[in-house]
């Protein structure tokens, strides 16, 4: 049996990782909730944002945390334009078609990254990377704590924005009743583009928070895409709260899976949760009935 202190440390580490997962998953669930499309390119776009953070640091020397506003804004614009130019034009018909289109996009993005950045693993070397904070028996890396806190703050800001701002209200209206929103004069297509942009902006922020402790390669997206889908399905497609709680559950599952089953087999937990939820409770923990 494992030392309970190690388990506690594992849970804490999982929680911290979960914080960033929440940010990634909130973006995905927002896009699903409003546009009713499954954005398979989510992982690839996160990878792209991570490269943006990496190059900003490598070429200009910008610290990832300082880069956050810039990369987030850039990601929003990128998502907005991507929707206007590609996704919005083709987002009609069978839902598999949109899935296939975003799969096509992710193939393009992954391979462009491979073409220009090569296959090497890239990391950012920040002075605070090696700092730890002692919490009870657990030593927690400082950047992970910062990321965790920042990610939660950003989620709260996004939540307030959705609840209070005019755009946020319009987005919720479109998510709930597309036709009705159109009838009361909301520019639905614009709201779609904005929502997609916000979803991708979440990835921009997540990339900045990830890079101090993580690495990036052109296949980094693969690692995140199933995780993000699992969180969203677990929480209930389209549910914000669900994505938040799902993120933490998955973060902890991953940490404990690694602890009990080892590095290799530990990854199986996420895929299994994904399969079991889809098979037995497809509405997730907080999803409304489809």
């Amino acid at each position: 049996m494992l030392d309970p202190q190690i388990i506690v440390a594992g849970v804490l580490n999982g929680l911290l990782a979960g914080g960033i997962y929440v940010l990634v998953a909130v973006g995905l669930t927002l896009i699903y909730g409003v546009l009713h499309i499954i954005n398979f390119a989510h992982g690839s776009l996160l990878m792209l944002a991570m490269y943006a953070v990496f190059w900003l640091w490598r070429l200009v020397g910008v610290d990832p945390y300082i880069a956050l506003p810039l990369v987030t804004a850039g990601a929003f614009v990128f998502g907005f334009v991507l929707y206007r130019l590609v996704i919005g034009r083709f987002s009609h018909g069978r839902d598999e078609n949109i899935l296939l289109i975003t799969l096509g996009l992710s193939i393009v993005v992954d391979n462009i990254a491979l073409l220009f950045f090569g296959g090497d693993t890239q990391t950012i070397d920040v002075p605070y990377a090696g700092r730890f904070v002692e919490l009870g028996a657990a030593f927690l890396p400082l950047p992970k704590i910062i990321s965790f806190a920042a990610s939660l703050v950003l989620c709260v800001i996004l939540g307030l924005y959705m609840a209070k701002s005019d755009t946020g209200k319009a987005i919720r209206a479109v998510a709930k009743e597309r036709q009705g929103a159109r009838l009361v004069g909301i520019d639905v297509d614009n709201i779609f583009a904005i929502s997609y942009g916000i979803g991708i902006a979440c990835l921009g922020a997540a990339a900045c928070l990830l890079m101090p402790t993580f690495y990036v390669t052109p296949t980094s997206g693969h690692a995140f895409v199933l995780v993000a889908f699992t969180i969203v399905v677990l929480g209930g497609m389209g549910s914000f709260i669900g994505a938040a709680i799902g993120g933490f559950i998955i973060g902890i599952t991953e940490a404990l899976g690694g602890l009990f089953l080892g590095e290799q087999l530990g990854q199986i937990g996420i895929s299994l949760i994904f399969i079991l939820i889809l098979l037995f409770k497809p509405t997730g923990l907080f999803g409304s009935k489809a």
Binding site: V108, D110, Q264, F274, I275
Partner: protein, 320 residues
Amino acid sequence: MNRTIALCGAGLAAAVIFPLFASNYFVNIGLLVFFVAFIGQSWNIAGGFAGQTSFGHVVFFGTGAYTSTILQVTYGWNPWLAWLAAMLAGAIVGWMIAVLSFRAGLRGSYFALITLAFAEVFRILANSVPFTRGGLGMLIKADQRPLNFQFRDPIWFYYLALALCVISLLIAWRLTRNRFGARLVAIRENEDAARALGIDVFAEKVKVLTLSGAMCAAGGTFYAQKYLYIDPSIAFGVDKSVEMLLVSMVGGAGTIFGPLIGSVALTVINEVTRGLASVVPALKNVQPLSLVVYGIMLVLIVARLPDGLMGLFRRKPRHA
């Protein structure tokens, strides 16, 4: 109709005599074209004809590759016999995934994503359990005798791939002419209407995924015998799932020749980018460039050309 038969005959004859004139390099390319067309067809039967889009078809491929390799290497089976066992294993996995997913009522994107997750589970298991030797992969001892499913002359693998491809085309052709195929198309086009017309939608979907799983597993064994090595990321990696889906979608999902046309197109693009790379040194890395082209083609085809490349040169379907 007669013209089509004549064309097929001519194409087959050309494919048969091709290796007698071509260099080893081109024989190998031809082999890959037919092999990818074969596993693409296994995807197409479920994804194209029956409309059950899978993102994790490699789960069957890997099941086949590992089943025959383990039986051969660990238990000393004859590989030809192990090939049959591999197909059976692929069928069983197909049946299992179908029963679980379709019993739960998964459709469309959800089915696509759950197949992806199944493939991931199999990949992680293959990486972890002892009898697959984990991430080290499995080597098949070279012993080049036909009885061993190994050939001194690569031409025989070419002919075997050609035979598999022809068989898969015949299966697809049967589906366009029999009741099972008509039911699959009905399910793809409208599940509710199909159900109302007395089709047991669940049973037909399970049947098609079982068949597709067996076919794809056969491809897995072929691959293992050709390269005499497999590991978890070759056998269960997402790349092969995407490749099967791509060749079918690009060539024309739900058409007989779609996967073959798509496979030819993929190879042509590969060779062209390879040629480009020799001229433009900046493009030293060829593989990603052809995949970029392929990704763009996938987007355009899904959006604008649902019948794929087949749709370009097919007359308005007339009754035969």
